[in-house]
Point group: C2
Chain length 457, copies 2
């Protein structure tokens, strides 16, 4: 067996088989039924008794300009892990990715496709770390393969306090992977693109890593020289300022202006000190039911391997929306980048999608309170909507955290409105991919959309 799955239905069958063979189940429990997790008697922080994994603590935010103060719970995970993707090329030069089928308790559908490796230093550096991480050797020095991209990337700044992961893609030398193993299969790029058109199959980590990979040569080879959407997109993927209305430097200066303007003091506090949130027997929730809840689950596998573990998860309210408005100018696609501030981002704000709503909270807002361009995206006529698929965020920390990811062509009035707002800038996808390769400030939601854009050429 070659370990290669060529068609989307083969991948779907593999995922379904694993789901049933592993006899997976997850159910909610009250906090006091979680084995190994405790609320600290003094601080109220929710942490594992070993001090490992992650904890739920608080952030206090004081907005610089208005001095308004508020606080909220946050997931603290000090370790920066590796998200590693192994890639090889078939005879025609098409990339094939070594994907892992991975169960996470918070995953919608339990099992999704993850990169070749998801691991933290405590998994792979400690002497007695137990079972090694399969395929990790390709990502640690000395490497036999060629590093195609390698950079630290941030994750959700509304839910994590300064979390980052190393996103790395390594091209495998011929035949270096003799046997992928039960949890891994090679999947060609065109198949992965097909799977990205479906909801909840390609996990957040996979999308994040894919976004950092320069694919402009592959895309341009696959596209015609015409004026179609796909051809414009392929031309826009070059990691340079060609065809872009602003240089990378100008984009970063506009971002730095927003950072200064939106400056806030953010301080880690104890979960017990967070105002306006309530701890019940089975959830920590916001007084008005907004944002998210912290819940507890017990997860078990009863198939090939019997194991059970408990953990907290962050469960967002409703389904979020992240969207790029796009336009075509002289045969090059531009996306409208928004500078979005979040308390858990190290530098305060990053370049993200046009619309970035992590939760479905916006439903209750008045028209004035709604984020810019949200309605332009949600009410766009069908013919302008190029992509509209629900995808899941990290299932190891979030419970059914899902967002509608959309790519929508802007009409002329909307495009004109965007020009006037300094928080928004037109950029080429290639500029963002270039930034991703140098640990540039591109949000995880924007990286998902960059991965989804590849479904359109």
């Amino acid at each position: 067996m070659s370990g290669l799955l060529h068609r989307p239905d083969e991948v779907r069958r593999w995922i379904a088989e694993r789901r049933s063979a592993d006899g997976l189940g997850v159910r909610r429990v009250p906090f006091d039924r979680m084995e190994g997790w405790r609320f600290h008697p003094d601080t109220g922080n929710l942490a594992h008794v070993s001090g490992r994994f992650f904890s739920v603590e608080g952030l206090r935010i004081r907005h610089g300009a208005t001095e308004r103060e508020w606080s909220r719970p946050v997931i603290v995970q000090p370790e920066s892990g590796i998200l590693g993707m192994l890639v090889r090329r078939d005879r025609a030069g098409e990339p094939e990715f070594l994907m892992q089928v991975k169960m996470e308790p918070g995953n919608f559908g339990l099992v999704q496709l993850s990169p070749t490796v998801q691991a933290t230093p405590s998994n792979y550096t400690r002497v007695h770390a137990g079972r090694g991480v399969r395929h990790i050797e390709h990502f640690l020095p000395p490497r036999s393969g060629r590093v195609l991209t390698d950079a630290l990337q941030s994750e959700q700044g509304a839910w994590f306090d300064r979390k980052s992961n190393r996103n790395i893609v390594v091209e495998a030398p011929d035949g270096v992977v003799a046997a992928p193993g039960d949890d891994h299969r090679w999947i060609p790029l065109h198949t992965l693109k097909a799977l990205l058109r479906e909801p909840d199959l390609v996990n957040m980590d996979s999308r994040s890593v894919l976004a950092c990979l320069p694919l402009h040569e592959t895309a341009e080879r696959a596209s015609d020289a015409g004026e179609s959407f796909g051809a414009s997109l392929a031309r826009s993927l070059r990691p340079s300022d060609a065809g872009a209305p602003h240089t990378i430097g100008e984009l970063l200066t506009r971002l730095n202006d927003v950072r200064a303007d939106r400056w806030a003091e953010v301080r880690r506090i104890a979960l017990g000190q967070v105002d306006g949130w309530h701890r019940e027997a089975d959830e920590v929730r916001h007084g008005a039911g907004r944002h998210f809840r912290i819940i507890a689950v017990t997860a078990h596998a009863s198939g090939r391997e019997v194991r059970r573990w408990d953990q907290p998860l962050l469960a967002p309210v409703g389904v979020g929306v992240s969207a790029f408005l796009v336009r075509r100018v002289e045969g090059v696609l531009h996306v409208l980048v928004g500078a979005h501030w979040e308390p858990g981002l190290a530098a305060g704000a990053e370049l993200g999608p046009t619309v970035q709503c992590d939760t479905g909270d916006f439903a209750g807002l008045s028209r004035e309170q709604r984020p810019p361009f949200l309605d332009a995206v949600l009410t766009a006529p069908e013919k302008r909507v190029r992509y509209d698929v629900v995808q899941s965020e990290e299932g190891g920390r979030f419970h059914h955290a899902r967002s509608r990811y959309m790519i929508v062509e802007a009409d002329a009035p909307t495009a004109a409105e965007a020009e006037a707002d300094p928080r928004f800038s037109w950029a080429t996808p290639g500029q963002l991919i270039g930034l991703c390769q140098s640990s540039g400030p591109v949000s995880v939601q924007a990286r998902t959309l960059l991965a989804c854009l590849h479904t359109l050429w």
Copy 2:
């Protein structure tokens, strides 16, 4: 009066005049004599009663691989400020910088040259911020000048917890600055280079901003096409991978490998929880007298303007050493970059000098404990030492924090030894300058050395 100082002695006279005219004085006081600063009764944190400026708290570090734990005091300053340099060109195209003469209580010599603007958002964004910051308008949107470089840069990770400042250089349109004002003068690049050859005149912020400025065209115009040190240096300043042994991508992968290897969990704690440090009436000190002390000073000006303020300062032990080993390969200069871990750096480690000792602590270490290449630098014969000048760090937070900055040509055995150690990489100065322009991970000590390198062409 043109507001231009052309010769180094004119600048020295200006600084000396200001020093005496302002009747400046700083003296140490016990903590309880500091007006407005208190140790918090519960946490022991040293902070201003208003909650503004900065505070002295603690960090607890748990090293990932060994699980060794330790703690230390740290300066916490959540605000990210602006270090802004205004530049114009004379008729021959030489850059002239609008420098500020600035008194800081911790400065060696009290008064040094700072960038055009040093300001935090609370200085320039708040409605009732009082007296405006002179020349700030050139650095805030909408700008009339052209932005030459603009990026967030880190500062000392051994003394600050994740401090960063926006380093920005703006080219002024002709005649936009009618009157520099008493505290500002235009100083040409060649004069600034001469001042950088002297100790303690060009402050850390100025050096940091200068390091981010692409000067390769100016340097190449000024240099011959030969094989001299200066010509090799000028060619090495191009912000590209040309003539470099590694690509930027390879440099960053090697850095990420060190980050993973040297991974540690760093957590902010209260100053009162720091182990092994003692609080006396007039200092917080390490039990064995190592690292640094926290002291208190009262500063006063009795000249044109009468004012007085008190504040804590961090006073390092002894004089540090930061040095680049350099070599010339085929007419291009390479510097030996070290990946140095510090607890207060957001990503754990950054690209720094070959040798980076913030304090004089190394004097007591055995040969085995001494940092790599320290002795190679300190014992190099005079003819290999290209630069050896003591410069000061930030005088607003540190008291007489001084380091010997050195640029030393490596002999063949040392250069060979460097090749074998994955923590060290040969790079061109231009690669580092390019990284600085994109908020890349180049340490503040390395940025000082990049500024000092310009004295050698």
